[in-house]
Symmetry: C2
Amino acid sequence: MDMNYSTFAASEQTGCPELCEACSARTISICKVLPHPELRRLADCGSVKSYAPGEHLIREGDASNNVFNITDGMVMLFRLLSDGRRQVLGFLLKGDFIGLTAGAEYDIGVLAMTRVQVCRFPRLPFRRLLLETPLLEQELLARASDELLSARTHLTLLGRKTAMERVCSFLLHLADREARLGGAPDLLFLPMTRTDIADYLGLTTETVSRSMSFLKRLKAVQLLDHGAVRILQRSQLVSLSENI
Amino acid sequence: MDMNYSTFAASEQTGCPELCEACSARTISICKVLPHPELRRLADCGSVKSYAPGEHLIREGDASNNVFNITDGMVMLFRLLSDGRRQVLGFLLKGDFIGLTAGAEYDIGVLAMTRVQVCRFPRLPFRRLLLETPLLEQELLARASDELLSARTHLTLLGRKTAMERVCSFLLHLADREARLGGAPDLLFLPMTRTDIADYLGLTTETVSRSMSFLKRLKAVQLLDHGAVRILQRSQLVSLSENI
DNA sequence: CGAACTATTGACTGCCATCAATTAGTGTGG
DNA sequence: CCACACTAATTGATGGCAGTCAATAGTTCG
């Protein structure tokens, strides 16, 4: 009986946490590499948080006490110069992880573009789990690799592409990513403002706007409501984007 | 006797490889985290290579068969657009590691700026060692983190800084790095051409040259032979660099 | 429906790119 | 060691792309 009970308890303990069962980001998050006991350990130290559009998940300079896994919505990473100029570093979606690079203080800000859901984990227990779980370490290294690759693509865009090429590259990049997450191909969403896009592309709002208008006149894209964009002629965009 | 012998052999096997004993980059390379047996295993699968200035260590698109540890000299990482425009992604020095991000093919080119010495390791055995050595995994993750951080700083420079700010940031960045490697503070070397610098900063040779001349006229820097530069007024550079 | 914000469009400016010519530096062979 | 050739760097003149300033149009949401 004792034996039965303890067996039952063990199986209970090694089961998938209820919270995670329902999580639609689970198969594309860092969690996917964790066996159930480790997943439970992670789930036990984390908590689900929700942010409204415009809310900060992280302010540059804050003590880096947490890491985040995005389970829904879109956030923007950015950095500020002392005079207020802003560089947007990227837009993250469901399944992306935040907190790889932090030292004692966050070196970037993170802002919710839409309503955002995350799993938030205190850094210390996360770090402890990380040190004891090589699979997680490997997963994070793979993600760091990917981020580095995409940062290099972004660098090339900022350093060497024209305004038009930047806008086309950006649209294609977002479309590809949404498609990979299961969205309709050639349909994408721009929940961010033209200013946010401009700060991502190293341009101004006006220049982004003019480029979009040009693409609209070409009938390469169609602007729908609420920032949705339909790509009508992908080939057109590709040839205007000078993609590597 | 047998016993003595095997003890001797074991101690021989766990000693530091002769090659590594003399290596001046050892304490600042990934090697520093490896205990002697693992270091020996790494040394056994690697080989020392030397490259002349202008030689390619890696061409973009090549099968990514090797990873590299720089033990001397300076290399340049870069990416090309199909029409020949080039973005320089960074300059690496002694102690830096190349090959973190590679998929099946290298996604960047690597060119020697000076005479360069590296330890070159075939990817597969390196990967095997990596999977069995969490300490190495951790070291690579830390380095990936650092690279990501520096890529983000670079992104901000390219997206939001003026020509003058870019040049000053670049000089300060190189000076800091040389100082950290034990060089004289406020003395730095530019073994790369103005074109290389321009491609790093998202500018043209002429603009880089004009900016340098301006700094010379300000007596903020002094140009010496063979691309050496002395920083005369660091504070001047800092205030012109709009550093974060 | 209307207020408030965001995007677009237009006119003009300026920074950096481009084109061109000169100067300086580097390496080589007589 | 010096003269020569070649490449790289600098400087100057001009142009163009994207930025700035300003006004209008369009969205979105209470």
